[in-house]
């Protein structure tokens, strides 16, 4: 009996490596099969219905906060990242580049509820307010103002929220309200001195390029998010380019007055351009702040950006 048991035990031990090999093969084959099936399912999945994709959020900010069980910071992070992904996904589907403050064409109907929930769940989370102030006005300006004002109520000491609200009013052309908001923000402890100066400048010359330059320079300096920084940098390039194009138009007028016709190419006006110490490319064309050459338009009587330029056209 003992001998029989021992024989069974020995036979079992001899079979063990074989069993292990069979199990490994089954596991590898199984993985290969279910990965292939997953690929097959993905490739045949019907496109998501736009109406379903853009469905309103299930939870309001208040409900999400109530259900958070103390994990509200984490939930706010989740909604914040969802906002970024939502906008990022829509931008990626576009054939051309768009500016972060000009996304009205993207139909971002979920952005306001997403940012609203993130800031309701964690009212001290300042980044979503910044995003609401910069991105939301081109989608829903009333919501942008409401969310930013709510941010000021929840964080009365945060001068940057006044900067954001002032920016929204400035974009809408309401320079008086913008000036007032900058003035209120300037009174807060820790607010930089330029807030006071911005208030005065906004009241005096709200629609000028100088104010715009000041706004985007400050935004570039203060922004924590790289995409916001990039947007401010491109807007500053645009302002530089507007100034440059004004100068180039004067050059063209000067050339026209002298030669009796507009230049057929930049080479013809090269002498004047060189006296201005302008950066030119190999063809002699002056280059814009992104390094692309300016184009002569309207039979050489006007100047415009090159289609490949990184300077925003609008």
């Amino acid at each position: 009996m003992i001998e029989q048991d021992q024989m069974q035990f020995t036979a079992g031990r001899e079979r063990a490596p074989l069993q292990a090999s069979v199990l490994v093969i089954i596991a590898i084959a199984g993985i290969a099969i279910f990965v292939s099936l997953a690929h097959w399912l993905d490739s045949r999945r019907p496109p998501v219905d736009v109406n379903i994709e853009e469905e309103r959020l299930y939870l309001t900010g208040k409900t999400a906060k109530r259900l958070s069980l103390g994990f509200n910071g984490l939930i706010a992070d989740w909604y914040w990242m969802r906002s970024l992904q939502y906008v990022g996904r829509k931008i990626m589907n576009l054939p051309q580049d768009v500016e972060l403050d000009n996304l009205g064409q993207l139909n971002l109907i979920l952005l306001a509820p997403l940012l609203d929930t993130a800031t309701t769940v964690d009212p001290q989370f300042l980044e979503p307010y910044e995003y609401a102030a910069l991105v939301l006005p081109s989608v829903n300006v009333d919501e942008a103002i409401r969310i930013t004002k709510r941010g000021i109520e929840a964080n009365p000491g945060a001068w940057r929220l006044y900067q954001h609200l002032g920016y929204i009013y400035w974009q809408q052309g309401d320079f008086q309200s913008s000036s007032k908001i900058y003035a209120n923000g300037a009174k807060l402890p820790g607010a930089p001195p330029w807030m006071e100066a911005m208030s005065a400048r906004m009241a005096a010359e709200g629609g000028s390029r100088r104010v715009a330059r000041e706004i985007y320079t400050r935004m570039y300096e203060q922004a924590g998010d790289e995409s916001v920084k990039e947007m401010a940098r491109r807007r500053l390039m645009q302002l530089d380019s507007w100034d440059e194009r004004d100068t180039l138009r004067k050059v063209i007028q000067l050339y026209r007055a002298h030669a009796g016709h507009c230049p057929a190419s930049w080479r013809e006006a090269e002498t004047v351009i060189r006296t201005l110490n302008w950066r030119v490319d190999t063809s002699g064309a002056p280059v814009d702040p992104s390094g692309s050459p300016y184009r002569l338009t309207k039979n050489g009587c006007d100047v415009d950006l090159d289609p490949g330029s990184l300077v925003p056209a609008k």
Binding site: R66, L69, F71
Partner: protein
């Protein structure tokens, strides 16, 4: 006193031998590492998200440890009949229960300290050098620990008279209701019915107000709780747990093991 510490040490050893604990600690450390990569999707909010995720994971896994290990502390001894061997020695039921409680609290302390250290290191790593948040999270970690200690007491109370499954369920409900305390209070204030008002008021005061220990979100913004408020919250937790353990002992001392 020595006997209590002996039981606590054994309870700690038993918990440490339980591989689930190691897995949980490892998982939280991994989660913190993952947080570093999630942070890159967050538009420059890496630190906040790492703190939110790390502290939330610390609380959540701590709750699981407190519940699932806590409810088995007494039950396992009875089920394996080792309780007879223990009570055959000069060990009182009170000493046994408090020793078990302290043993699990020690286990949770070790867990929380390891998780907190991992989180601080992750913050220093992300900051590329010294990061003030790495220190500022510790008051929140302390409050999480007090919350876990209260929950352990609750788990022990339920396990002193109920089965592990039911005890785990009831303790989990207490964890959820404990975070809805403010709603109980507002319900009590808003209802017109005097009986209902008394009921909600009684529930508000009798159930642990775990919202006192919710400091994860402000900690992620670099805020530190007020010292007085923290001390009072810790005292509240201490007294609440004392009462819970006293009730557990009352039930346990009357329990017949035959």
């Amino acid at each position: 006193m020595f006997r209590i510490f002996a039981i606590a040490r054994n309870a700690f050893r038993e918990a440490v031998r339980d591989r689930v604990l190691y897995n949980l600690v490892l998982f939280v450390l991994l989660l913190t590492a993952v947080a570093i990569f999630i942070g890159e999707l967050s538009g420059g909010q890496e630190r906040k998200i790492i703190v939110d995720l790390g502290l939330s994971a610390m609380l959540l896994f701590g709750v699981f440890i407190a519940i699932f290990v806590g409810v088995g502390l007494v039950y396992k001894e009875i089920e394996r009949r080792t309780v007879y061997a223990i009570f055959a020695k000069p060990v009182g039921r009170g000493e046994f229960l408090i020793g078990k409680y302290l043993g699990l609290c020690l286990t949770l302390l070790v867990n929380v300290v390891i998780m907190g250290t991992g989180l601080s290191l992750a913050l220093i790593y992300v900051g590329g050098g010294w990061e003030p948040l790495a220190l500022r999270i510790w008051p929140a970690v302390l409050l999480i620990y007090v919350e876990l200690a209260v929950l352990t007491g609750v788990a022990l109370l339920f396990s002193s008279f109920s089965s592990p499954a039911l005890s785990a369920l009831l303790t989990f409900f207490i964890f959820i209701i404990g975070h809805f305390s403010a709603d109980l209070k507002s319900l009590a204030a808003s209802t017109g019915n005097i009986g209902a008002r008394w009921l909600f008021s009684a529930l508000y005061y009798l159930l642990p107000n775990l919202a006192n220990y919710s400091y994860i979100t402000p900690a992620a913004h670099g805020q530190v709780p007020a010292l007085t408020q923290s001390i009072v919250a810790i005292l509240y937790g201490g007294f609440y747990t004392t009462v819970i353990l006293a009730i557990a002992l009352l039930v346990f001392s009357r329990r017949n093991f035959k």
